[in-house]
């Protein structure tokens, strides 16, 4: 009968779907799972990766945190949040005028910003190191925040201008008529309406700055300024890789981003959406 055939098809489709999702999840998680299980080894275990740690122990996490890894994560957090602030400031204003105004040289400026998007950190690593050491700015939050923001800003500007465009211009006009002034229109009317877009940009900036390793590796040196990804790098010590602490630190470094993403997912996707269909 039709119903049961439909049911059967629906059920097998659902089963196939579930199997597919399981495979995807497994493929995505496999290396991370290995890192997780390795990190749960007891300290006496042989120094190697393993899927089956026994006995289970959180000693690696304790050791890593006691060894000052908390400080590194704090540095990463400071850099990330400051980068969010800078990126938001820069991209809100630039994105707004790109979305709402026509002016001479707009295309050229857009192209410059696109070039900014095009150049990656690798090209800037040696020059920025040189620049930083000359100005005595090496090993400060300032240069890390500036460098991270500089590479995230173009994408952020692009997204926000797309998002602003999806907000009807009548809102701005109404605000102008009310006499709020042009900046007021932006701050009081457009920004509140653009919350999902702001969340998206903030999360993008956070992920970008939190995970950034090339620039941080080169621009910081002292332990006081070190960020978490760089510290991970240095678990490959003079005496070999310490698998336990390394994987524990890796898990610790990954968790904040994941948690934030889980919490802000809906807003994030919504923000991306509006910026998605409009190009430059």
């Amino acid at each position: 009968m039709t119903t049961s055939r439909h049911d059967a098809t629906a059920r097998s489709a659902a089963a196939a779907r579930a199997a597919f999702m399981f495979c995807v999840g497994a493929a995505m998680l496999l290396p991370f799972a290995l890192a997780l299980t390795t990190s749960l080894q007891a300290p006496g275990a042989p120094n190697a990766g393993t899927f089956l740690p026994w006995p289970l122990s959180l000693d690696n996490y304790v050791a890593v945190l006691r060894g000052g890894f908390g400080r590194f994560m704090l540095n990463s957090a400071i850099v990330a949040f400051c980068s969010i602030a800078v990126v938001l400031f820069v991209s809100i204003h630039a994105g707004y005028v790109v979305a709402r105004y026509e002016f001479r040289g707009k295309n050229l400026l857009l192209f410059a910003i696109l070039c900014g998007m095009a150049l990656g950190e690798l090209s800037a690593v040696v020059p920025l190191y040189f620049f930083g050491s000359r100005l005595g700015l090496l090993d400060t939050y300032v240069i890390l925040v500036l460098a991270n923001s500089a590479f995230i800003a173009p994408l952020a500007i692009w997204f926000l201008q797309g998002y602003f465009r999806s907000i009807p211009v009548q809102l701005d006009e109404a605000a102008l008529i009310d006499g709020t002034g042009r900046l007021g229109a932006l701050y009081r009317v457009v920004l509140p309406a653009a919350k999902p877009g702001l969340v998206t940009v903030s999360l993008l900036a956070f992920i970008g700055a939190w995970n950034e390793v090339l620039l941080a590796l080169v621009l910081t040196s002292s332990e006081g300024m070190r960020t978490a990804p760089v510290a991970l790098h240095f678990f490959m010590t003079d005496y070999g890789v310490q698998w336990g602490p390394l994987t524990a630190a890796a898990v610790l470094t990954t968790l904040p981003v994941l948690i934030l993403f889980l919490l802000l997912q809906r807003h994030f996707v919504r923000g991306l959406t509006a910026g998605a269909t409009t190009g430059l």
Partner: protein, 437 residues
């Protein structure tokens, strides 16, 4: 390399000096009594911190306390990863943010000196050590450590190398310690299989430090990697034999896994420490950690084999040194600091606490080296005195290593290649680029 007899003489002289300095407490410490730099702060760049937990760092903590008590100088440590010290030093000198004294890694000395980042130390050395005393230093006066005939660093320690062998496996196989590479093959064949391997070397390109085994393999067979003019000479018969041996280990004797092409030094260390590897060449500074993992009783140290049972391969020497950056604000105080770490008793203490070989022969006269615990150190000192050479050290050392490792990859991945041709091509490629710099 000075002869064995000269070494003996130096050791005796050094021991006498050491003994007398204990008997006459005032004599050895005369220059420090004045405390001319009392209260002076100096900045020291290192990768080891007095607050650290490793044995080397514990030793440093003790030395720092003693130094401060004796001279009143306040040493402020700035810690950087060891692979970064050289690069940061060079840019710091140019930006005038350099420290007063810094550790320098062996492989970085030529690059850093060529970049003009270190001040020559000869004036200080002349005042502090006379010609006889200068002979006390194991490798400091080899050409590898002179830039334009000047010394820019002083070695704090010596890292020597040897063939680490699983003693328990050797005994179980009923074999004698290997003296030639054929012995290595024989023992290797007996233990390889079921996830275990006889002889290990690392071919991964993650870190270019392969000279540690390539040099003894080639030089021990009578070859030379670099000529006196700096041109690559690893194309002779000895080099071909060395490469053939390494390739045969993988393909013919099957005592080395083909994975070796992507194995890093850490992978090899892990393999030994988890009981998967019987023999490999490693450094004296790693002995204690290896011993802790597999048990000191299960490790046998053997001179690096060669094709001649009567003459083992020379062990390559490296080690950390200290230097005074150009433009340092307080070079005299910095020199005091360096001198302190050159003292035989300080080096002996490092040997005792951290298992570090001294850079001076006279330090070897310390009674610690006669204890059973230090037997392996004494063995290493003897091997070093008898048959060693500094590790190859030119400004283009990493390029050289890369050329040699690429050749090794080719020989192992394409077992039928003409080894001599591969080496010639690698040498020519290196020469071409090295000219430019």
């Amino acid at each position: 390399m000075s002869s064995f007899i000269e070494t003996r003489r130096a050791v005796l002289a050094g021991s006498a000096a050491l003994a007398s300095s204990f008997l006459l407490p005032g004599a050895g410490r005369a220059q420090a009594q004045g405390k001319p730099f009392d209260g002076q702060p100096i900045v020291h760049w290192s990768f080891l911190s007095p607050e650290g937990k490793s044995v080397r760092e514990q030793a440093i903590k003790l030395h720092e306390e003693a130094f401060r008590k004796e001279t009143g100088i306040n040493v402020a440590f700035e810690i950087y990863p060891f692979a970064e010290l050289a690069r940061r030093l060079v840019t710091a000198v140019q930006a005038n943010t350099q420290p007063d004294v810094t550790r320098v890694g062996w492989e970085s000395i030529p690059m850093v000196s060529k970049a003009g980042a270190l001040s020559p130390l000869d004036a200080y050395i002349e005042k502090a050590f006379d010609a006889e005393q200068r002979k006390d230093f194991l490798i400091d006066y080899s050409p590898a450590l002179l830039t334009n005939g000047q010394k820019t660093t002083m070695q704090l320690e010596t890292i020597s190398h040897a063939l680490f062998v699983r003693k328990d496996w050797l005994e179980r196989a009923g074999m004698k310690p290997p003296r030639t590479w054929s012995d290595v093959v024989e023992f290797g064949k007996k233990v390889s299989g079921d996830g275990r391997w006889g002889y290990g070397f690392f071919g991964g390109k993650q870190q270019l430090v392969h000279a540690v085994y390539l040099q003894p393999h080639i030089h021990g067979r009578g070859g030379r990697i670099l000529g006196d003019d700096g041109k690559a000479t690893f194309t002779d018969d000895a080099a071909v034999r060395a490469y053939k041996f390494l390739s045969d280990c993988v393909h013919v004797h099957k005592i080395t896994p083909p994975d070796v092409v992507n194995m890093s030094w850490e992978d090899q260390t892990d393999a030994f420490r988890t009981g998967k590897l019987a023999m490999f060449i490693d450094g004296s500074h790693r002995y204690r950690d290896h011993a802790r993992a597999v048990g000191a009783d299960n490790i046998l140290l053997v001179e690096i084999p060669s094709d001649d049972p009567a003459k083992p391969s020379p062990t390559p020497l490296t080690g950390w040194s200290m230097g005074i950056p150009k433009g340092a604000k307080t070079p005299d105080a910095a020199w005091q600091y360096i001198q302190f770490y050159l003292r035989p008793e300080v080096q002996a203490a490092n040997a005792r606490i951290a298992g570090a070989l001294p850079s001076r022969r006279s330090a070897a006269g310390d009674p610690y080296f006669k204890t059973p615990e230090a037997a392996y150190l004494q063995w290493w000192l003897d091997y070093t005195a008898a048959n060693s050479e500094p590790m190859i050290n030119v400004p283009t050392a990493s390029r050289l290593t890369e050329a040699m490792v690429d050749a090794l990859h080719e020989v192992i991945l394409k077992p039928n290649s003409d080894i001599a041709a591969v080496l010639r091509r690698a040498a020519a490629g290196y020469d071409r680029v090295a000219q430019q710099q």
